[in-house]
Amino acid sequence: MKQHTFLGAVVGAMICSATAWAVEPGEPAPAFTVKNTKGEEVSLSDYKGKVVVLEWINYECPYVKKHYGSGNIPKLQENYKGKGVVWLSVNSAAEGQQGYLAGSELAARSEKEGNKASQIVLDTDGTVGKAYGAKTTPQLVVIDKEGKVAYNGAIDSKDTTDVADIETADSYISMALDSVLSGKTVEKAKTKPYGCGVKYAK
């Protein structure tokens, strides 16, 4: 209980600015509790001992469209879920901002986009986004089995909206997950994320 409060305070302090307090690879992944599209509570602690992916989404963003329209992210979700990874799609858009969808609408839209995440969660007050330094959609975070951030950054190496670039890009998320799953150090643990700005409350 005490530990939760302490972490809560740390997370609270991190709300100040998405960029100033971005959690660095190697640091403990900030705890959180959010609600999924069905209104059920989801906590990071539910997945203790597992590899967890946090993926920031905004289906209206051309960069997210690149990776869903092509099936790239759904394929990654299926592939790594099959290897025991827990994949959480996070929507940190504030109400009234682009990309915001209420629970059932977010579920329906996610289904339409082919989203295969383990959970789709709403972070409408932006707490989780700011704790992890989520600047763009997409942005990917990998949390290892010890609960430390192993990767935080871009989905891949080609910072464009062109689907044709996926094939020839280095898939940073795949590289990070493959390393974590085989107990190796992630070579590129931090990369500049690319995408549309996360639409936090103004």
Binding site: S17, A18, T19, A22, E60, C61, P62, Y63, Q97, Q98, K135, T136, G153, D159, T160, T161, D162, K190, T191, K192, Y194, G195, C196, G197, V198, K199, Y200, K202
Partner: protein
């Protein structure tokens, strides 16, 4: 006015001063009138030629003019924390080469919480094409443009394919020569040899030093890092004169990989008569 009368009126206006074969600007899949922009997303793009014909041995000056819808901005070669620079992919006749795209001086802005560099209103990029020796056929030059425009709420990409055809000739100025000349003034130029940039790092702090003659006054100048992911995009570069050199301190970009080996800085405004680009390369 009917479509056809409008079209012939536009062409007539152009033919009068030119007396040379018409410069055709076509955009797929629609035919568009000479010098008409093609809209995609929240910007309109136009391909302009500074000459009405090409001459082997002389570069062919072209311009790409982007007009952004009000409230939307496009991005510079270093777009900042997010955004995407203009991409131009050329399809040229055999042996023709396209030079580097030259970006006009940007302004800095924020897109939501993210700092960026780019353009509002209009931006004209310049590029030189080089015809090969012996080229004599009319040359169709095509370019695929991709860009991103954003406002605080959304980002929308743009994609167009533009082309123009130039006959061989004496390479004399064409109708868009004035537009290109005005655009040239907004493109940073390398300063004389007497101006140099030095870069030193200490941990996460980067010190920039510009050595310049007494006559160069950088008071009030806006400085922008043209090299992506090198200096913190959120920091303002302010140069102050200390002991004959102009110095600025700025944090290193959090995504920089390894020591900085190259850096280009664009300087604009203040007392400068024209924008400058100063470069530093690490000694090998």
């Amino acid at each position: 006015m009917s479509e056809n009368r409008w079209r012939s009126r536009r062409i007539g206006y152009l033919l009068a001063p030119m007396k040379l074969p018409i410069l055709m600007a076509t955009a797929l899949p629609l035919f568009s009138n000479v010098f008409a922009g093609v809209k995609s997303g929240h910007a309109e793009a136009e391909l302009l030629s500074g000459v009405s014909s090409f001459q082997v041995g002389k570069p062919v000056p072209l311009g790409i003019r982007l007009k952004f819808d009000p409230g939307w901005h496009g991005y510079w070669i270093n777009p900042g924390e997010a955004g995407m620079p203009l991409s131009a992919k050329w399809t040229l006749p055999e042996g023709w080469k396209a030079g580097e795209l030259r970006h006009p001086v940007p302004k800095s802005f924020k897109t939501g919480e993210l700092s960026g560099f780019g353009y509002e209103g209009e931006a004209v990029y310049l590029v030189d094409l080089v015809p090969p020796a012996g080229a004599s056929d009319a040359a169709e030059c095509r370019v695929k443009l991709s860009w991103l425009t954003c406002n605080d709420s959304a980002c929308v990409p743009g994609d167009v394919e533009l082309s123009l055809t130039l006959p061989a000739g004496d390479g004399s100025p064409g109708k868009a020569a004035d537009v290109l000349a005005a655009a040239e003034k907004k493109i940073p130029a390398a300063p004389g040899e007497e101006v140099s940039l030095n870069v030193k790092e200490a941990g996460d702090a980067v010190t920039l030093q510009i050595s310049a003659p007494e006559s160069l006054d950088l008071t009030g100048v806006k400085a922008y890092p043209a090299t992506p992911q090198t200096l913190a995009d959120t920091a303002e570069l302010v140069f102050t004169r200390t002991n004959g050199t102009w110095t600025a301190e700025v944090p290193k970009n959090e995504y920089a990989e390894g020591p900085i080996t190259l850096l280009d800085i664009v300087l604009d405004g203040g007392k400068l008569s024209a924008p400058l680009s100063v470069s530093w390369r690490a000694k090998k």
